[in-house]
Subunit: 306 residues, 2 copies
Amino acid sequence: MTITVIGHKAPDTDSTGSPLIWAWFLSEMRNMPAEAKLLGEPNTEAKFVLRRWGVAQPGIIADVGAGDDVVVVDTNNIAELPAHINDANVIEIIDHHLLQGGLKTKGPINITVRPVACTATIMHDLMGDQAAAMPEAIKGLMLSCILSDTLEFRSPTTTVTDRALAMKLADDLGIVIADYAAEMFAAKSDVSAFSDAELLRMDSKEYEVAGHKLRISVLETTAPSVVLDRKASLMESMKTVAAEDGVEQVLLFVVDILNEEATLLVPNDLVRQLAEASFGATVEGDAVVLPGVMSRKKQIIPALKL
Amino acid sequence: MTITVIGHKAPDTDSTGSPLIWAWFLSEMRNMPAEAKLLGEPNTEAKFVLRRWGVAQPGIIADVGAGDDVVVVDTNNIAELPAHINDANVIEIIDHHLLQGGLKTKGPINITVRPVACTATIMHDLMGDQAAAMPEAIKGLMLSCILSDTLEFRSPTTTVTDRALAMKLADDLGIVIADYAAEMFAAKSDVSAFSDAELLRMDSKEYEVAGHKLRISVLETTAPSVVLDRKASLMESMKTVAAEDGVEQVLLFVVDILNEEATLLVPNDLVRQLAEASFGATVEGDAVVLPGVMSRKKQIIPALKL
């Protein structure tokens, strides 16, 4: 049976690229036939990366079947996985997020979680000497995953391991990191075609803060004005998205990659109180700039309180 | 702050030895001061192993404090961990059991789960080249953990990695495995001093089977008659232990290490039905022999049904 390798439901570059990397490794190096699948449409940066390295976009699946052999990468959160994940036969997990405590396995399996910026970095470590066998396209995906998740080493999640590996890969591939990252971020910033609701759900995770169920959305961009010019209609759309997704409030952080700051939209009093309690910010009007804030994992989630 | 390294609540050799091994590694090789602690009295085999390698028995703790830095080894099951484990700051997990889905972490941490027989085997792999720096006592603990968890390579949980590592350690230490394992198993079999209730709880894990909460106890011994001669009073004691521990039934499997079989005590109709449905056994009387059954993880838990 072919193994299915999946990331999470909002495929960014790491969650699109790392299933492809691991499916290559299992198939070619471990003699375990494996195929990457996506749980949704990849974002514009991930689509650019696939084109750039000549890799076909993996098929999108709606669910996994009972008894399917599945490798889960870049998440361990059942809310971000197919509805029937606990009926499937999860055979491996590779991730760099906190342990959510919902995923169970039927037997002892390989689980590797490391506090690095990027899933692909962990995969390189797990490959050991066999990493040398990676073809150019797999190296290109790996480099792209690291540059995406670290925002070209700007994010505080970046470790020396992520950076050293990206440098080595770029060197092998003859890639100038600054130029290539700029192309990736331009692709990620090209979001004008998306509806407000699509933007709010593009890179979004649910968390509970002091009993409030929140959808915490982040848009990383080199052109924040493209998003911020639509502020009014985005805030209007938050109500529908929150109702449809069964949460109390959507928070939208627009991360300005180049200026290393985030703008949080402030549609109401709840979000104003959250911004003031969590970031010590003084909110005037319907948005607040949070200098230095770039990482949901390191800077937003741990700070949120009411 | 000193890091606390703990195993599970019923300290056998792996759950006593591997916290000591990892505390050594963190303190001496990573410059992270760490101390092994136990969550209960170690079993007779673990006590023998500590004496044999001249290692002081770690202190026993009743709980962990909020904010304590804790490394959890040889389990990921909150039922087998201190009451306030989710208030502590769990910084690493090293384990070889199925993911139970209860433990959460505050941020992304190092988690390494591998389907090998023994936690100490995973630690050796994580140490990389630094394993060469292990002093004799740490090597001795590591060898003991592997021989204990694999029942001297007889258990079906044994992997080539566990076996090769044990052979190498024995060679380094000048130990004859057959002789040393016999001494360990003799120590483990020396359980005449324990009460019935203590025996039932000595190596015991809670599981739910078809809606029935069960305490599944295993006693590995080279002298099964020492335990089986007490069959009647053990079955009487099961009622009290079940009531005190809030489970419906205690199952006791007496594993005969040398003859590679288990005897399951059958005090009532529920256990008889379980034995017949799970192992295809024909039960006559108050005990049934299950040929080849040695591992709770590989052979008992996956088979149990009603």
